[in-house]
């Protein structure tokens, strides 16, 4: 399990970053990069896009660091930036969705490049098919372990809306992932 930096370290990095110390900010990036890239990947399904989005997330965070309130968690704030960037990316990509799905009918269903196993690829493909905001709700609650209230703050919507999106996403994912073995972890 990755060791999280002590809170004092993170506070110092934030303070130094606010003073323009990019090496201090690089330390913050190192601390949170896996979370941000993982979230961006789950949202986009593409490693290249995830890397670009993650970089943009951190650049934006640096530029807006003076708006970060110390009483909240930096990781949650970064999550919010990453999700919003991902949703805007998804809005641009949605017009391609129909054409891509047409092309993908001719693709042999084998383990997509880069995934360690077929299940992982299939789950990501299923996530790709969710509407962006439902997908964001699932990524935040399942993979980032936020409760519905926390996810609602990140997504800037009501807790009830998150609950509904999670419910609708689960129904769709159950249909898409039918037949996959579900032995307990």
């Amino acid at each position: 399990m990755a060791r999280m930096a002590p809170p004092d370290d993170e506070r110092n990095w934030i303070q130094n970053s606010l003073a323009g110390d990019t090496e201090a900010f690089a330390a913050l990036v190192k601390e949170h990069q896996k979370m941000v890239i993982a979230l961006a990947f789950r949202m986009t399904g593409s490693w290249a896009d995830a890397e670009d989005l993650a970089q943009e997330t951190f650049l934006r965070a640096f530029r807006q660091l003076n708006s970060f309130r110390a009483e909240s968690k930096l990781s949650t704030w970064l999550c919010q930036i990453a999700v919003n960037l991902s949703l805007n990316w998804r809005a641009r990509e949605s017009r391609r969705g129909e054409v891509h799905s047409t092309w993908s009918e001719n693709v042999i269903t084998e383990t997509p490049a880069g995934f360690p196993d077929a299940l992982s690829g299939r789950v990501q493909s299923a996530l790709d098919k969710l509407p962006p905001k439902q997908r964001a709700a699932m990524v935040l609650t399942v993979y980032e372990n936020h409760n519905h209230a926390e996810a609602a703050k990140i997504l800037n919507c009501s807790e009830a809306t998150v609950s509904w999106r999670v419910f609708a996403a689960r129904q769709k994912l159950k249909r898409l992932l039918k037949g996959i073995s579900h032995e307990p972890l």
Binding site: E23, A38, F58, R96, V99, K174, H182
Partner: protein, 200 residues
């Protein structure tokens, strides 16, 4: 499948794992972006106007230089075919080299030559595509990249390229494919191809 079974499947899904060097390099990559002078970082809205102006001036100068050699005294009218300009691989290559991963499109229409730069981050590297659209009155040509949304001949279109070299244009109410060259409902005459920048 019940809720806990679904949860179990979702949590079993693992992400692609890059080599360890990636995680060492990524923070430094971000730090380098931050350390670049403001004029070299991703374009912001407040900076694009003077740079776009220079880009346009430079592009026009390059076009005039090529035109002097290529046309040898031919008269250029606003409706003249643009193919001679944007199909010139050297012009396109040099323009792209001036603005690496920032060019969304080089457009020529009856208003002249335009350079459309990305304001929201890097344009993914991919082979340039040449598109020419005529609506019977005017002809517009452009060089762009797969995935870009462009405005041409009064229509907003997304340009896509597939792995076999086929090109697709998706407008609000039509789809055109270079493989099928169809869209009988549209009044537009469309030509598209991949541009081989290695050729001169």
């Amino acid at each position: 499948m019940n809720r806990s079974e679904l949860e179990s499947i979702l949590k079993k899904a693992r992400l692609p794992q890059p080599p360890e060097e990636f995680w060492e390099e990524f923070p430094q990559q971000v730090a380098r972006q931050l350390n670049r002078p403001a004029t070299e970082t991703t374009r912001s809205r407040r900076n694009w106007v003077p740079r776009f102006a220079w880009a346009t001036v430079t592009a026009v100068c390059m076009v005039m230089a090529f035109a002097a050699g290529h046309w040898r005294g031919s008269v250029v009218t606003p409706a003249a075919p643009a193919q001679d300009i944007l199909a010139n691989a050297k012009l396109v290559r040099e323009t792209l080299a001036m603005f690496p991963n920032q060019v969304r499109a080089i457009v020529e229409d009856n208003h002249g030559l335009h350079l459309v730069l990305s304001q929201n981050g890097a344009v993914p590297t991919s082979p340039p595509l040449y598109v020419r659209v005529s609506d019977g009155k005017t002809t517009s040509s452009l060089v762009t990249f797969s995935g870009q949304e462009i405005q041409i001949a009064g229509q907003k279109m997304t340009v896509l390229a597939d792995a076999q070299g086929g090109i697709i244009l998706m407008g609000n109410d039509f789809v055109w494919s270079s493989d099928e060259k169809t869209d009988s409902d549209s009044h537009l005459k469309i030509e598209a191809k991949s541009l081989n920048l290695a050729a001169l």
